[in-house]
Each structure stands twice: as structure tokens, then as C-alpha cells.
């Protein structure tokens, strides 16, 4: 299912970005995101997009992966851009559209050059001091990891449910939404059982 591939999945490699520490990469993404939000100008937006694309090149990310990520966000970015055009004019709309694409590409570069387990390990290290306040770092990190992983599966469920509704000739949104929500909840239960069976959360 092609739709499931739109969330960045790790691509093995030995580029500079692959070898960079997780904390550094996340920190840079944070600074990059803040800069995009705080610096409001059209030329800066194009520079941000250039930086995101350059990072993709440095990380040797497959062009297809970047294109898929861009395709996914294009719909949302176009919608937001259209609203901006309506309210603030063409320049603001283009600036917002380019900013959103740059931001999503940077996020894809991070996830394509960083294994989820490496992110989990780093996250566990960072929040371990919170253990004294009753926080279980392993569980919190796993919850984040699962949330990331759940996205492609949920998209796949949505596509299956939509196709099933179409196959029965039903076009009403309720015919999609009701079974979709039920299937997502059922999948969450199954995943919980699977984690339980693997002893995750027993310690």
C-alpha cells in the first residue's frame, strides 16, 4: 500500500546525518522549526526550503521518500495556503506553503536518518531524571514510538475502510467514519495484547 510509505521510515546509511547524535539532530530540527515560525519573509522561506533539500542530499535520502513526504503535506499546505491567500494575500500564502513543505521535509530527513529505537533510547536517557516523580521513562518512550508507528497503519486502515464502503456503493461519510473508528480501536486493543504478550510493561 503506497499510502503507508508516506511517514518517514529509517533508511540505513553512513552519511554525516546518520552518524550525528540523536540529540544534536533533534535540537537542530527544533531550532530550524522555531526559525521558520519566527522569521517571516518570503526570501527566508525559500532559504529554509533550500536548507531542507540540502539536508536531504547530505543524508542521501531517496528522492522518492522526499517526494512522497512532500505529496502528503501538499494537500494540507495547499489548504492552509488557500486560506492565507483569502485572508492575507498571495505573498503570505506562498510563504506559508513553502514553510510547511520545508518543515515536513526536515522532519522526514530526521526520521529517515535516525532509527526509532535510537530515538527511544535517547528519549529514555533524557527523561530518566523524572523517574523520581513517578514517571516510567521506558513506557513514555514506547508510547511515543508507538504513536509514530501507528500512523502508517492507521492510514492503511482508513484506505481499506474507504474501499470497503465504496465496494458496497455507500458514499455517506458515516459509512466510512463509524467502521474506521471501530477498526482503529480494535487495532489498538490488538496492539495492546501484542505488547502484553511480549512482556512489554511487565518490568
Amino acid at each position: 500500500m503506497s499510502n503507508t510509505g508516506m511517514v518517514g521510515v529509517y533508511q540505513p546509511g553512513d552519511s554525516l546525518l546518520h552518524r550525528a547524535p540523536v540529540g544534536l539532530k533533534l535540537g537542530c530540527l527544533m531550532v530550524f522549526s522555531l526559525s521558520i515560525v519566527l522569521v517571516r519573509s518570503m526570501p527566508a522561506s525559500w532559504v529554509f526550503l533550500g536548507v531542507a533539500l540540502a539536508l536531504g542530499l547530505v543524508g542521501r535520502i531517496h528522492l522518492l521518500t522526499l517526494a512522497r513526504a512532500a505529496r502528503t503535506v501538499l494537500f494540507f499546505a495547499a489548504f492552509v495556503g488557500a486560506l492565507q491567500w483569502l485572508w492575507y494575500g498571495r505573498d503570505k500564502a506562498i510563504e506559508t506553503f513553502v514553510d510547511l513543505v520545508a518543515l515536513s521535509l526536515a522532519a522526514v530527513v530526521l526520521s529517515a536518518t535516525t532509527p526509532v529505537n535510537a530515538m527511544l533510547d535517547a528519549f529514555i536517557r533524557w527523561i530518566t531524571p523524572l523517574r523520581r516523580f513517578g514517571v516510567d521513562p521506558e513506557r513514555v518512550a514506547l508510547a511515543f514510538g508507538l504513536a509514530i508507528q501507528a500512523l502508517p497503519g492507521t492510514v492503511a486502515l482508513a484506505v481499506e475502510t474507504r474501499d470497503a464502503a465504496r465496494a458496497r456503493g455507500v458514499r455517506h461519510p458515516r459509512a466510512f467514519l463509524t467502521p474506521f473508528v471501530i477498526r482503529v480501536v480494535a487495532r489498538a486493543h490488538e496492539t495492546g495484547d501484542a505488547l502484553h504478550a511480549r512482556g512489554i510493561g511487565d518490568d
Binding site: 540505513p12 495484547d193 502484553h196 512482556g199
Partner: protein, 232 residues
């Protein structure tokens, strides 16, 4: 060989929030290496299997694995009991193959490097060495079940419970997964609709209407089941 016991006047399970019994009081002592469970849909087979590692809690009675009470020390039991589900898509929870096996190893190996090394070795053993960094969503149904099994075997459990592990697979993959399961050194509790697989077991339980109606050698159990179905 490990021992799975259903004790204390029989293990039973009531449906949550209702009077319906999904498994009648059952007393068993399973010591054979390969134990099969067959029966109709909704008969209570999966409930019986799920009791063994605490996915379902007994309403009455006790389930013991090598003397350890599942209700009292579920964590210790789950270290000894691996569980393979029907739908591997629900079992695979990490983005790539190697990461999913690494998740299983988290409780057993603290070093990330050694965890990675072990996970790669397991994938290699199961013919998925070339797929280590492939998305779990990109795998075929057979490969997904293979990966799910690899994730279970990676932590070297004493018992493997497999709940209809071949139901969603084609013939070739069914044979592949079945051969892997029957080649395991571990004790195997196999819930299946595939009577050919059931015949390969040392002992087979026939579950009907929430109870074990036959318990004996594989051929006799399969014949009993076929006669029951024919008589309906």
C-alpha cells in the same frame, strides 16, 4: 519439557460484564512437546491459549506454567511463554524488521549494540537478513508472520503459544511457518483450523461450546472433531 497446568477445580472464564461462560471449568496438565487445539470458531480455543500467558484472566481456578501462577507473576510467566497471533500486522509494532525484534529483546539485553547484533542474527536465521531495515508494512503476509515468530523466538521462551498462525497465509507460507514451529525445541501449544497440522501434534484437545470435549492422540482427536462436525 515445561508443564502447563490448569488447576484448582478447573479454570473457567466468564465473558466480561455478562453471565456467559467462554470457557467452562477445565483441568489439564500439558507436558507434551506439541499440543494442538482444534474446534469451531468461537468455541473457546483462543481463550484457552490466551490463559497461558495472562492475556485472558481466569475467573476461577489457577493456570500454572512450570509451577508459576500466571495471575500472581505474569511477568515471570511471559518471560517463559512466547505468543504468536493470527494477524501479524497487529503484532509488529515497530517501523522496521530489525527494530521490531530489538523491541522484544529490550527486557533481556540492556546494551543497544548487542541488542542490534542479536536481532540481526535472529533475522538471518529466519531468512529475513536482507530485510533488516525494510518497513514492516512492506513485507508480504508470510514474511510478516515470519518476523512475528522471529520476534518471539529471539527471547528464547520455553513455550510458544501460536493462535491460528497460518490462517491468513497461502499454502507455501503455511508450510514454511508450520515447519518452523514444529522444528522448535520449545514446547508448542498450537491453536489451528488446519487438521493436517493438528495431526502432527503429540496430543490434541478438541474444544467445543466452551469446553474441552476430547483430549488425546492427534488422529483420534481429529476423527472425533470430524465426526462432530458431520453430525451437526
Amino acid at each position: 519439557m515445561p508443564t502447563i497446568s490448569f488447576q484448582a477445580a478447573g479454570v473457567s472464564v466468564a465473558a466480561p460484564g455478562g453471565p456467559r461462560i467462554v470457557l467452562e471449568p477445565t483441568s489439564l496438565e500439558l507436558t507434551e512437546q506439541r499440543v494442538g487445539v482444534i474446534g469451531a470458531n468461537g468455541s473457546g480455543k483462543s481463550t484457552l491459549a490466551r490463559l497461558v500467558n495472562g492475556l485472558v484472566e481466569a475467573s476461577t481456578g489457577r493456570v500454572l506454567v512450570d509451577g508459576v501462577d500466571v495471575a500472581r507473576d505474569g511477568g515471570a510467566v511471559r518471560r517463559r511463554v512466547g505468543f504468536v497471533f493470527t494477524d501479524p500486522a497487529a503484532q509488529l509494532v515497530m517501523p522496521t524488521c530489525v527494530e521490531d525484534v530489538e523491541l522484544s529483546l529490550r527486557r533481556h539485553e540492556k546494551s543497544a549494540a548487542r541488542r542490534h547484533e542479536k536481532a540481526l542474527a535472529v533475522l538471518q536465521r529466519y531468512g529475513l537478513g536482507d530485510h533488516a531495515d525494510v518497513s514492516v508494512h512492506a513485507l508480504s503476509g508470510g514474511q510478516k508472520q515470519l518476523l512475528a515468530l522471529a520476534g518471539v523466538i529471539a527471547v528464547e521462551p520455553a513455550i510458544v503459544v501460536a493462535d491460528e498462525p497460518t490462517t491468513l497465509l497461502d499454502l507455501a507460507n503455511t508450510r514454511k511457518i508450520a515447519d518452523l514451529l514444529f522444528d522448535l525445541d520449545q514446547q508448542l501449544l498450537l491453536v489451528t483450523h488446519d487438521l493436517d497440522l493438528a495431526r502432527r501434534c503429540d496430543r490434541v484437545l478438541v474444544v467445543e461450546d466452551a469446553g474441552v470435549r476430547f483430549d488425546g492422540p492427534a488422529d483420534a482427536a481429529v476423527e472425533h472433531y470430524l465426526a462432530t462436525v458431520a453430525g451437526r
